[in-house]
Symmetry: C5
């Protein structure tokens, strides 16, 4: 998993029903100090995250499907939770 920052949303024409009613968010990967690494994922949102939120991203398909509680879902990255704090 990694720490991400929600920066936008993607509107797309997708026929696969697993995406119906799901919001697709652009999430920039941050390093532990909060700086963007340059990597990003288009994530399915299950926690009602919004632009500007710092989130925890599960970036593995099998784990992502378990978060969605669906054995069959064509996803790779899912927002698992909202980050409250990072402590060093």
């Amino acid at each position: 998993m990694y720490i991400g920052l929600v920066t936008g949303t993607v509107v797309a024409t997708i026929k696969h029903e697993a995406f119906h009613g799901r919001k697709l968010l652009i999430v920039d990967q941050l390093d532990p100090d909060g700086e963007p690494t340059g990597a990003y994922d288009i994530c399915v949102d299950v926690v009602q995250a919004g632009i500007g939120d710092r989130v925890l991203v599960m970036d593995e398909g099998n784990g992502a499907r378990q978060i969605l509680q669906r054995a069959v879902a064509p996803v790779r990255a899912v927002i698992v939770g909202i980050i409250d704090d990072v402590e060093f």
Copy 2:
């Protein structure tokens, strides 16, 4: 998933029947601002995308097979949909 730009097609001699009748597209990965990252995938197309289209790419094998609705298909990257808009 990531945002991609269809830039070309690949013509190849492939014996595996899962590829018969499937178009193989070259998709450059874009960053959220629309600039190429340098990465790319050869993707199976299921949404009739064409050169110049901005698309959403599923880059995980198990998820890709679910888009194709086949349990057995030797694919890793599939074009999931056409991107209509990116909002920040």
Copy 3:
């Protein structure tokens, strides 16, 4: 697997029960000489590692789930053990 250094903890609001009672640690990836590579993972801890510990990280979901002894757990990276020594 890779060698990591525990540098912090993440506090997040996560609804999925697989994370309840689990500590989420920030682990910087080290190269074999002990220098940070710039990569990191948010890891689930099962060995009571603490900040400053050098640890062995399993960075694959199926392997991580086996460490947790759960077939269903939305994780990708798990701290497998504490590193005692690296010999060249």
Copy 4:
């Protein structure tokens, strides 16, 4: 999948029977313009590719096993086909 160039062969002492009689090829990853990206894979060959051939590489284990038509085969990358043409 990616476009690759076969540049060599690896001769190794391997006990696992899945590799018996299989040629192991060094395949440099090319970008869509035909330039090496610096990445490579040691690939199992199932299409009788030779040095200098441009090939299509499946770089995911589950997909690779399906190309080999074996549920159990310790492979990650397989040469899927010979590339005839790339069109932009």
Copy 5:
């Protein structure tokens, strides 16, 4: 798979029984010309490789588990064989 060079061993306190009696080796990834790429893996050894050996590394969990002939083993990278020669 990739070509690696065994450069060291890791001694760690690991409770999971799948690691009992297994040697954990540090393997630097080499490019096809034999130069280090900067990447490495901590690998489980099943071929009695030693420091200085050039080896073939399977870097995918499902494939690695098949090399170990265990359906359940929390590993991602395994040394598959000793490299005898690389031919261009």
